[in-house]
């Protein structure tokens, strides 16, 4: 990643964080009603992975997918509009924060069903085999999803067909209120890939450039006909499972400690400064701009008309 690319990625990561925090505030204020699964702590995964993709590659993700959506370039206003139930939302307010899609940004969708997206990603990769596009598909899911039969089937299916897909497992230490380690045997999750016969690799999901590097390799392998890769990207969930999670199950102080130790944005910021890719002023300006953009997008979205009830039954069939 070049310096400017890294700084641009920083900006996207800050935008994601500002977006999520602002969305959470709007939900507290009742401007957003639907439930929100924030990606705080996951930013480097989506931004790093997306930086490794080509312009025709597709992405699909879970309900915890705003970071992917923003990395894919879906306008903030379209997202806020979706969350607020506005006609101008990316899906006209139909899906809300946990279930939207945008073909214009090759974002095949969030999915509220744990594990369901993996086969959809495999299917997108399957399609790529026939259209000469050289396209690959990236599909993201959580650690908990590895216990879902659908994910097993998707990986097995992709392996047998040697599909150009990158499975990105965002291991954030929890599945809702359940610690990951209580639902898996000891040992690294990426080693599961062995039973499918494709590589499984771990990456520090808080390290933007490591993620980009790892996903680049996986994407190159896929594009070259080498089949799938499972990338397990460790993240620290710096928010609740969703915006109405009291987090009583969390060890005292864990979140604060994680935020301090391993906030991917703080880490990237320090690296940028340390490597002289940008100076403090520039980063502060970026942060200010990102915040301003987020607020402007939210304000503009709030001023849009609500989704039109008269349209509710449109588009069920073609």
């Amino acid at each position: 990643m070049t310096g400017p690319e890294t700084v641009a990625a920083f900006r996207t990561m800050v935008t994601i964080r500002e977006f999520e925090n602002h969305a959470a505030q709007l939900r507290n204020r009742g401007v957003i009603v639907c439930s929100l699964h924030l990606a705080n702590g996951h930013e480097a995964i989506a931004v790093g992975a997306h930086a490794a993709l080509g312009s025709s590659d597709t992405v699909n993700a879970t309900y915890r997918g705003h970071h992917w959506a923003i990395a894919c370039g879906i306008p903030l206003g379209a997202l806020f509009g979706e969350f607020m139930g506005r006609a101008t939302g990316v899906n006209g307010g139909r899906g809300g924060a946990g279930f939207f899609a945008d073909p214009d940004h090759r974002f095949l969708g969030e999915n509220g069903i744990v594990g369901a997206g993996a086969a959809i990603g495999a299917g997108a990769a399957l399609a790529a085999r026939y259209d000469g596009s050289g396209r690959i598909a990236l599909t993201a899911f959580g650690d908990g999803a590895l216990n879902q039969g659908a994910v097993h089937e998707a990986m097995s299916f992709a392996a047998i067909l040697s599909l150009p897909v990158v499975f990105v497992c965002e291991n954030n230490g929890y599945a809702e209120y359940t610690p990951t380690e209580s639902m898996f045997p000891p040992g690294p999750l990426e080693s599961r890939a062995a039973i499918y016969g494709f590589p499984g690799v771990a990456v520090d999901g808080g390290d933007l450039r490591a993620v980009r590097e790892t996903v680049s390799e996986a994407a190159a392998r896929a594009r070259a006909g080498g089949g799938p890769t499972l990338v397990v990207a460790t993240a620290r969930r710096l928010a609740g499972h969703h915006t109405h999670d009291a987090e009583q199950y969390r060890p005292e102080g864990e979140k604060a400690r994680w935020a301090e130790e391993s906030d991917p944005i703080i880490r990237l910021r320090a690296a940028i400064l340390g490597e002289g890719l940008a100076d403090e002023d520039e980063l502060a300006r970026i942060e200010g701009d990102a915040r301003a953009d987020v607020r402007a997008a939210a304000d503009a979205a709030a001023a849009q008309p609500a989704s039109d009830p008269a349209q509710l039954e449109q588009h069920v069939y073609g």
Partner: protein, 334 residues
């Protein structure tokens, strides 16, 4: 009789506590049901009180339902939570091709006394993948019992009945009424898993309403009373087996039928009620049956859309007026 005022949520919780005491073979498991007490708090306190009879599972609905089935075949009485009814579709096989067949297949030599607790319905923008109403699909599977409690007392009594029943039973809770308050009778004998209830007597029209729609229908009945229309409201409580006799007795009196549910219209449970009316109740009817349901589209997130997708008292009242007028025009019925 020891009655107590409580919420729908706590009524369910009290039923679980009582069942765990009454039946040492009862187990409770599912995702986040033990230490966290369930994402809606229904299983709170059980793990503390009953130790390893209450436990969390991986996110594996097929295994949850399949293990419940297996355990039920050899002496346990599992009560499992499927967090949202929408998630049944990844594991439905274990109920449809598995549990539902056991008693029939073995001519009653084996039973599968398991209970599935789940919740459904729309609430605060829950959207297409988190508010589907699945009761009609389950009622199309002979061998499964399906109940939908509409109030705290029934939440308590019906969950207890389901657990005590030796057939696989699915109790579908409604998320939007977890905080609704009402009296429960904590010492009442355990009921059979069957039976409708007339929740409002009326002479002019029968309104059969499911789950949360019972409350909506009762409010509609108030609106209509002001206009001189006297609606009888029937809560089927158990959809499978269905207590048609109670509905038939009502339409024998009123000659008009309106069915209200939150599920989409086509092939919803309202179709079955209307069909029974068209078959067995035909000579009672003085005019068309009216179905008031969600429209035939996915459930939306936007509050402006959700507001029109879910029937409210006004819409039910309009449907009743149409039924009274004998109108076959259902343009507005969803």
């Amino acid at each position: 009789m020891s009655t107590a005022e409580t919420t729908y949520r706590d009524a369910l919780n009290a039923a679980l506590h009582r069942a765990m005491h009454a039946h040492p073979e009862t187990l409770v498991f599912g995702e986040d049901v033990a230490a966290p007490g369930g994402v809606f708090g229904v299983t709170r306190g059980l793990a503390d009180e009953f130790g390893d009879r209450v436990f969390d599972t991986p996110i594996s609905e097929n295994a949850i339902l399949g293990a419940a089935l297996g355990a039920s075949l050899v002496g346990r009485r599992p009560v499992v939570e499927i967090m949202w009814a929408d998630f049944l579709f990844v594991g439905l096989d274990q109920l449809v091709n598995g549990a539902a067949n056991v008693r029939w297949l073995t001519e009653g030599r084996m039973t599968a006394p398991l209970t599935v607790r789940t919740q459904q319905g729309a609430l605060t923008s829950s959207s297409a993948q988190h508010s589907r109403c699945v009761e009609a699909m389950l009622c199309h599977v002979p061998g499964l019992k399906v109940g939908m409690p509409s109030n705290p007392a029934d939440a308590y009594a019906m969950l207890l009945a389901a657990i005590a029943d030796d057939d696989p039973a699915i109790v579908i809770e409604h998320r939007a009424i977890y905080d609704q308050r009402g009296e429960i009778d904590a010492d009442a004998p355990v009921e059979a898993a069957a039976g409708a209830r007339v929740v409002r007597q009326g002479a002019d029209v029968t309104v059969v309403a499911l789950s949360r729609m019972v409350g909506v229908a009762l409010r509609a009945a108030e609106l209509l009373a002001a206009e001189g229309i006297d609606a009888e409201v029937v809560d089927p409580r158990w959809l499978s087996p269905f207590d048609w006799a109670t509905v038939e007795a009502s339409i024998a009196k009123t000659s008009r039928l309106v069915v209200v549910h939150e599920a989409v219209r086509t092939c919803g449970f309202g179709a079955e009620v209307a069909a029974l009316a068209a078959e067995r109740g035909f000579w009672h009817l003085d005019g068309p049956v009216v179905r008031i349901t969600a429209p035939d589209c996915p459930k939306p997130s936007a509050p402006s859309l959700e507001a029109v997708a879910i029937p409210d008292a006004e819409r039910v009242a309009r449907g009743v007026r149409r039924a009274m007028a004998g109108s076959s025009d259902d343009q507005e019925s969803t």
